[in-house]
Every structure is written in structure tokens, then in C-alpha cells.
């Protein structure tokens, strides 16, 4: 069986789709962080400004792994696809 260019292209696109399964992780992490942030505000409403800034920072850091997956997907689509 020979691997022609269409096979490579199709596999690259499939791989891009599979890579984005990594979106589960950051989604769960961000949801967890936001839930805990809401809990903290409920317990201590005076500190809501500080809690919000820490929460946004944590959420953006949790996004990193998702961004790595996104870069791999973009590379697969635009370089091989």
C-alpha cells in the first residue's frame, strides 16, 4: 500500500481534530477555578476584587495546555493539510 499525498493530508486533518481533545482539560480546570472563585466571593464578599484578579490569572494559566494543543492543531492544518 502506498501513502499518497491525500492520505497524508487526511491523516493530518484527523490528527488536528484529535489534538483538540486536549480542550477537555483546560475546560474542566477553568470551570473548577471559576466555581471556587464564586465560592470564595460568597464566603468573603469584601475581597471580591482580589479574588477576581487571582481567578483570572489562574484561569489564563490553566489555558496554557489547551493553547499548546491548539498550536499543534493549527500547525497540522496549515503545514500538512
Amino acid at each position: 500500500m502506498e501513502f499518497n499525498e491525500f492520505f497524508v493530508k487526511g491523516m493530518a486533518l484527523l490528527g488536528a481534530g484529535i489534538a483538540m481533545i486536549a480542550g477537555i482539560g483546560p475546560g474542566m480546570g477553568q470551570g473548577f477555578a471559576a466555581g471556587k472563585g464564586a465560592e470564595a466571593v460568597g464566603r468573603n464578599p469584601e475581597a471580591s476584587g482580589k479574588i477576581q484578579s487571582i481567578m483570572v490569572l489562574g484561569i489564563a494559566l490553566a489555558e496554557t495546555t489547551g493553547i499548546y494543543a491548539l498550536i499543534i492543531a493549527i500547525l497540522l492544518v496549515f503545514v500538512k493539510g
Binding site: 490569572l57 489564563a60 494559566l61 489555558e63 493553547i67 499548546y68 493549527i74
Partner: protein, 235 residues
Amino acid sequence: MNEVSSITIHFGSFELVIQQSILVWLVVCVLICILAWFAGRAIDKADPSKAPTGLAYWSEELYNLCLYVVKGNLRETTGRYMPIFGTIMVGMLISNLTGLVGFQNPTSNVSFNATLAVMFFLMIQYNAIKKGGLMARLKGLTEPMWFLTPLNIIGELAVPLSLTMRLFGNILAGTIISLLIYTLIKSLAPWGYLGLTLTPFIHVYFDVFSGVIQTYIFFTLGTYFLGEQVSNEEI
């Protein structure tokens, strides 16, 4: 992505292609220089006994914004490192917002982000070695136990990589998604033009929110790693 304009410079047989994003960055640089010159003149003229107005006020607020980001991490060394972080922060903030006027963001070019991140990495290492000496720096890599040295080295090298990729991925994703939406609007004309009512929200999220947050994160992390090495005060 085919309509991105670029300039090609020929040196004999060697071709140097300057992408649109880098051209935008050069324009942003010139604009920041002009703005800073006028702001400096306004501050020289301002009366210190009165509340600042106009451009002097805005530049003070911009300075306070930069101070707010870096001060928590650099602590007592803030004054020493403030000029470079403030300059690059204003530059990055403006270049993240250029998507609003329809240009490609300079930060969606990986070489721009990598340049800044590698520069931060070299700055952190240089200042750490300058402060404690080479031996103390190498000894710091063997803590808490000697066999963790490879992991510590990987951890140090991961800093510029993660700084680059986080910013690049976020901004590039925003650029590509807004490009896709505009393509969809164009291909679904004339009803597709109704989609133009949605695009302001897309720009608010991907350009303003994402751009500002990513600038904040880039500098919070960069100054955190620097402050860990150079600052003596406890948090």
C-alpha cells in the same frame, strides 16, 4: 491568509521577507516614540502642585498600570527594572490592540514573541548570576536534591517556551477565528451581512479581553521569575 501583504528585500540572491505583522510593529514603535516625546514634554511643563491634566494625566495612569503589574513581583528592585518592563508592556499592549483597526497583530508572529521571551530569559539568567555569582546560581539548580538537576534545567528552559507559546497561541487563535467569521459573512452575502452585528463582540473578546489579559500574564510571569532571583524581600 493569502491577502497578507509583505515587503521583500533582495540582497543579491538572498531574499528577506518582512511580514505585515512586523511592519505593523515598526509603525507602532514610531507611534510610541512620538507619543512618549509629547508626553515627556507635557510632564516637563506640568505644575507639580496641581492635579495633572490631559496627556500628563494619561501617561501617569499608564505608569501606574505598569507599576501595578510588576511591583508585586519585583518588590524592592522595581525602580531598577521598571524602564524596560514598562516600555515593552506599553508596546505589547498597543500591538495586541492593533487587531481592532484591522491589521494583523505583531504578537501573532511567533518570532516577535520568541524574541521577547528569550530576551527575558537571558535577562533573568544574567541578573541572577550578577547578583549571587555563578557558583550560587549553579548550586540553586541542584536544590532540593542533586538528582533533580535535569528537571530544574528543563524547568528553566521551559520558561521562554511557555511564555512564547501562550501569547502566540492566544493571539493567533483570535486572529484566525475572526478571519473565519469574516470569510463566513462574505460567503453568506447578502444575508450574511447581518453577522456584522456580532463582530464587535468577537473583537471585544479576542482583541481587548484576551490581549490585555495575555499582556498581564506575560509580564506577571516574567517579573515573577526575575523577582525570584534578584529580590531579597519576602512577599
